[in-house]
Amino acid sequence: MSDSSPVIAADGRPLKASLNRALRRQKIRALLLIAPLLVFVLVTFIAPIADMLFRSVENDIVSNTLPRTVVALEDWDSASGVSPDEAVFAALAADLAEAVKAKRHTQLGTRLNYELSGMSSLFRKTGRKVKRMDMDGPFKPQFLDIEEDWDDPRIWTTIKANSSRYTAGYFLNAVDLQNGPEGIEQRPENQRIYMKLFGRTIFLSVSITLSCFLLGYPIAFLLANLKARTSNILMILVLLPFWTSLLVRTSAWKVLLQQQGVINDTLVWLGIVADNNRLELINNQTGTIIAMTHILILPLYSVMKTIPITYVRAAKSLGATNWTAFWRVYFPQSVPGIGAGSILVFILAIGYYITPALVGGTSGTFISNRIAYHISSSLNWGLGAALGAILLALVLVLYGLYDKIVGIDNVKLG
């Protein structure tokens, strides 16, 4: 059409430039509206998650507390099988003197104790005697005097291995491995707990998802095929437990499932169970599964509502029995809903903390309970953070799967 001159807008500028300017203004306006919230979420939420990830690998306590020793150890060969020489001990004496004054040596001992037990008491004992050491004389014999263990090359291997600012130690610990003298190896038999814990968490989550599916499918089917009025009313019965808080529901189940509780009372009254043989429904895995059977009815329901009934009718008119019509025509169409709902329930289940804490007892704990234990009781924050990072990675992968099947934009809250 026009060959050389660009199209001009009413105010004389080229239309393209005018359009770009208006577009840019719109973008800036949109970003200005979003910015306050984005900053807020970044500071109050994303930064904490980043901090947790950071703590799962940070390990600067050794290089901060024993700077000279770390440098001196660089020349020492950890495979030599013999403890280091005088220069290293001299550096250690200087470092420990400062550390004891700042009272940081016990922290160091505790941290190194996670790697090799005995380090904690070693540092405490040495720390007490360091003040009385002769500051010009040979240091190695003085240290060996205080505690013979200083001659053990394993101690020095541990210190050297933790000299770098970052460590994979916590992550290794989280999957039951450790950094042995020959590289990465499995932990001793009696210290391997985490793979079992992960396994148990996943097994329980799968059981929960399965039981939710078995309970939820018939209900979703019923609700999707009833008249709108009735299904709206029944939907309230479904949403009601969904909206009472998880804590309230778990408390209710705990009260009902305990040995002196209503369920056992009823069973005894009906004569099914003898009075002294009440079912141990609580404080074990059964308690966790029963209490957490949640509802995946909503995604199933929304998918089933979109299945046209004409297909089933057509199948029946072609001679299919009710079962065949259901299994070969209806069920395959509901599979996306099953997939989406199951992933959702699974994601929620592996992250649960309250319910296992209340009804799980000792054999029904989840990985989240262990993380909480490390943060509040054992104070091994690095390990707690590493476990949390693994859990987060798992959830994000599953969520990516969910997104592929359903799409994040389709999350509706009714």
Binding site: K27, I34, I236, W243, S245, V248, A252, I295, G351, S368
Partner: protein, 283 residues
């Protein structure tokens, strides 16, 4: 579908009624915990139905656990804390969230997908991880164990709900209304308050209710981020459940169920109203 066709065989009839019975049983299972409501009126300090209660003898019932709840200093303190934290957190979520939702529904938002992902993330990440991360980070900046820390934490947890409900409402608003208002000379701020605000109000209120419920019922994050001075009602319940000392817990649980029912009903009414306005449901 629930009506059996007249030519159904006996086998089909049998299955049909079995199916309905099964569904009834499942509904019963879903509602079962509601049974704690009558239990909370137990005159004795037991967690089960006493024979007097089963016989519907009025002597077996009493409201003494409720009286205990309202007079106990620990519980009342927890209740006060809950009501100090939840409304403020809700206001923060709603104000920031509504602004952002409006921004997100403009045309041409750069990096929309990434921004949405970041804003929805508090809903996706397991609570324990959020709680752990907040504990670490807030300790660094001195917010751990303070009132402000808990309020901020709850606000950020409620934000995804506000964003989802308000964007859902915004999508369905006729854009030509804002254009018409602009064409009649109203500035953007005036258009917002007179045209958009009334239309998105149901969405904002829904989001606010979700955020309020989230904060009010939340226990994991407050366990880590709060200190004893911010002990909320769910926290007190959690402690009570682990030690299981008195059936006052049942009374508290009943009250919380009642609050949830009220809020849920309000939400449902709002949702049906907005569906009617959009012309999407048959009455």
């Amino acid at each position: 579908m629930s009506k059996l066709p007249p030519y159904a065989t006996t086998g089909q009839r049998l299955w049909h009624y079995t199916f309905l019975t099964l569904c009834a049983l499942i509904f019963f299972f879903l509602i079962f915990p509601i049974i704690i409501i009558p239990l909370s009126f137990n005159a004795q300090d037991f967690f089960t139905f006493t024979p007097k209660m089963l016989a519907l003898d009025p002597e077996g019932f009493s409201t003494k656990h409720y009286a205990d709840f309202f007079s106990n200093a620990d519980w009342q303190n927890a209740l006060k804390n809950s009501f100090k934290i939840a409304p403020v957190a809700t206001i923060i979520s709603v104000s920031f969230g509504t602004l952002a939702a409006i921004g997100l529904s403009q045309s041409h938002v750069p990096f929309k997908g990434a921004i949405m992902a970041i804003l929805i993330s508090p809903m996706i990440v397991p609570l324990i991880i959020s709680a752990a991360g907040m504990y670490f980070f807030y300790s660094r900046i001195g917010l751990q164990g303070t009132y402000i820390g808990v309020v901020l934490a709850h606000a950020v947890l409620g934000i995804p709900f506000v964003i989802i409900t308000v964007t859902a409402t915004l999508i369905n608003i006729d854009k030509s209304l804002t254009q018409a208002s602009a064409s009649m000379g109203a500035g953007p701020v005036r258009t917002f308050f007179k045209i958009q605000m009334p239309l998105i109000l149901p969405g904002v209120i829904s989001g606010g209710l979700f955020a309020f419920i989230t904060s009010f019922d939340e226990v994991v994050v407050v366990l880590f981020v709060g200190s004893a001075g911010q002990k909320t009602l769910p926290w007190q319940m959690f402690i009570g459940m682990r030690e299981q000392i008195s059936p006052t817990i049942l009374a508290v649980a009943t009250l919380m169920v009642a609050i949830s029912i009220v809020l849920l009903t309000t939400l449902e009414v709002l949702r049906r109203r907005s569906e009617r306005l959009r012309g999407m449901s048959p009455g």
